[in-house]
Amino acid sequence: MAEVKLNKELFNVSVSPHIRSEESVSKIMWTVNLTLAPAALFGVYHFGLNALMIILLGIVSAVFFEWAVEIIRKKPITIKDGSAFLTGLLLAMCLPPTLPAWMAIVGSFIAIVVAKHAMGGIGSNIFNPAHIGRAALMVSWPVAMTTWSKMTTSVPDVVSSATPLNILKQQGYDALISTFGSASNMYQAMFLGNRSGSIGETCTVLLVLGGLFLIYKKYINWQVPVVMIGTVGILTWIFGPAGFLTGDPLFHMMAGGLIIGAFFMATDMVTIPMTIKGQIIFAFGAGVLTTLIRLKGGYPEGVCYAILLMNCLTPLIDRFCQPKKFGVRG
């Protein structure tokens, strides 16, 4: 065999280690996108074409804004890493299906330009960009953001266009049950997603399956969704409408944006504490705040604000929840 002729006499040098795992930021981001896709597609099937428009405009504009800001900031273009795509998708999934679709573009602008890049870009943002985008739309167009559509699918007993949490807030628990016909009907509808709500938040089963896949891939810690959803369940059961221990935890756990929030927003690694201990505190706090807003606040739903409020506390939680050092007692 002929001798290999080296095409260089000097080799690359760098500090150790010289091998790396196969994980990458874009692999993580695209996997999260993929796990969200079934619930998003269900939303389109469930709510119709305007939902599709909102999702498409949300994603395309988020990616466009990312590209534009990176050009202006003279930063490497990272639109292929899936993170802007994810922000756009998550934002759209948290918007009402009847929203004028162009508003999604405004939401994406706030999310990408203000919440993400103005804070320093990926990794530096304090708040979940998609939730900031949603919150901004909420204060800008409160009526459009709280107008809900009837579903395009024909579920016989489901006639109301209000979200279940809205009905609960305005008409009470009995009215809620009678809207669905029976409690078991209600649970079934909420599990499968046959209810009014934001585009991507309704289908509990698909969201949970997606979340389980992320747990299996170790992209998120199971403690976060379990603690957050569990906290909401326990607290809403304790502080029920007819006194102590009369609440409906099952309903509350599947209602509103809790499932998507707990699995996909409260696990956004950039904006939550880094240690598992810190993440559990974060998830518990988000659960408490969600319950507080739902039961006592002016809004029917509180997941978005609960997570944003806990995002503020992340640096503080991180400070007190560092890992235990080797060789240090206590």
Partner: protein, 440 residues
């Protein structure tokens, strides 16, 4: 199941390239380039000059400093130069170059026959010091220093580090299979010198054949051979001690603080050779591997042989390597070229082919926390890279215990953003030391 240590990573071990290759003796170099500094500590001064004739095993550089390691001629021949030569660890270093006379003659009095059982601790340590033995796992800390028990401390146990947790490397693995008798002797001598009765051999359980051979070899000696869970960095001294004894070496402390001394397999063999036969450390077993090496091998090679000669002995390159490493891929050093001498601490020479060295481009930290989970020291590596980037060394030291970092590279391995955390750690440590020195 044994209790493991916290953190760590599971890189592909790629040991199958050489695990089944018996140790081959490499041909003697035409000239040996022998640096006067092959250890941590004070450099030696040459005691031979250009034109001198030297024999194998003859002392050619030494110093009075305690923390240092003597240097001996690895071949017989004529000193043709004493000058600055490339060095795998320090860029360049004063080196003694010996031209091989082809006779391979021992210096007077070597080898001898010595009954080690009649020696006391001091004489054993003296022999080890004179033989220039240093930690052969790669750290090259002088062995006699480690073996000298401070007056206020008491050694309780000896651990033979046979974890060999670095991917690719199989030199210790082969030594255990082929040279078990010398290893047992080395361990017994070390235990005698330390005055301990408790001894352990820690082997990662990806080497079941070595565990079996060692168990047989140490039968009746009271030394316990333990299979350890395969996880990088199992061979890091502190992790090894933790898993075997359950004790944690205190932050900023040494293994002796928990009464333990750890030595590597190659070092045990060197101790045996020096004490029973008077042979100084002039050769070692090293693994030549990587996809860019035509025939990966474990070789017994004289100190001062160049990387190039060792690679040629392994059939040369199969393709143009992207990186040349001395040591393993997790903690080894990337070398710019191959005209470097093999020194006492070179546990392997790896030629990684294009794509084998997966480095990737660094991107911003996304705070995913993988580095925290991977860190065996319980630190927050992400902060080292973020603070290092902003030149905030003091914060890294004071608020995040930078100096506890052992630079094992687990965090970098795990990082999806491909952040060069170890680079920031080394940089910050150096800057911090410089700042401290300037203050004094």
């Amino acid at each position: 199941m044994m209790k493991s240590f916290r953190g760590g990573v599971h890189p592909n071990d790629r040991k199958s390239y050489t695990a089944n290759k018996p140790i081959e003796t490499a041909p003697l170099p035409s000239k040996a380039i022998i640096p006067v500094r092959q250890h941590i500590g004070a450099p030696c001064s040459p005691i031979v000059a250009k034109g001198d004739l030297v024999k194998k095993g003859q002392l050619i550089a030494t110093t009075d400093a305690f923390v240092s390691g003597n240097v001996h001629a690895s071949i017989s021949g004529k000193v043709i130069d004493v000058g600055e030569y490339p060095h795998p660890g320090f860029g360049t270093c004063l080196a003694i170059v010996i031209e091989n006379d082809g006779k391979d003659e021992w210096a007077e009095g070597i080898p001898l026959k010595r009954d080690w059982q009649s020696l006391d601790a001091d004489s054993i340590n003296k022999i080890i010091r004179e033989a220039g033995i240093v930690g052969m796992g790669g750290a090259t800390f002088p062995t006699h220093v480690k073996m000298t028990v401070p007056k206020d401390k008491k050694a309780e146990a000896f651990i033979l580090n046979a974890a060999e947790c670095e991917p690719y490397l199989t030199a210790d693995h082969r030594l255990m299979l082929e040279e078990s008798a010398r290893i047992v002797t080395g361990v017994k001598i070390a235990m005698k010198a330390l005055g301990v009765t408790k001894g352990y051999v820690g082997i990662e359980d990806n080497k079941p054949d070595a565990i079996e051979v060692m168990k047989k070899a140490f039968e009746g000696t009271g030394v316990e051979v333990m299979g350890l869970p395969t996880k990088y960095p199992q061979g890091a001294e502190k992790m090894l001690i933790k898993v075997i004894t359950g004790k944690e070496v205190p932050s900023g402390g040494l293994p002796m603080d928990v009464g333990v001394v750890v030595q590597n397999v190659g070092t045990a063999v060197a101790i045996s050779d020096a004490v029973t036969q008077g042979i100084p450390l002039i050769q070692r077993v090293t693994t030549i591997s990587g996809k860019a090496i035509k025939e990966p091998k474990n070789i017994l090679v004289r100190v001062g042989t160049t990387f190039r000669e060792a690679i040629d002995f392994c059939g040369g390159f199969a393709s143009t390597p992207e990186k040349i490493l001395s040591g393993g891929p997790m903690m080894g050093m990337a070398e710019p070229h191959i005209d470097l001498p093999i020194i006492k601490g070179v546990s392997g020479i790896l030629a990684l082919a294009e794509g084998e060295a997966n480095t990737g481009k660094q991107s911003p930290c996304i705070r995913c926390g993988r580095c925290l989970n991977a860190c065996p020291m319980g630190l927050n590596p992400s902060m080292f890279s973020l603070l290092g980037e902003k030149n905030l060394f003091e914060e890294a030291v004071e608020d995040f215990s930078l100096l506890d970092c052992v630079e094992c590279g687990s965090c970098v391995y795990a990082c999806p953003a491909k952040r060069n955390i170890v680079q920031y750690v080394k940089y910050s440590k150096a800057q911090n030391a410089a700042k401290k020195a300037a203050k004094k």
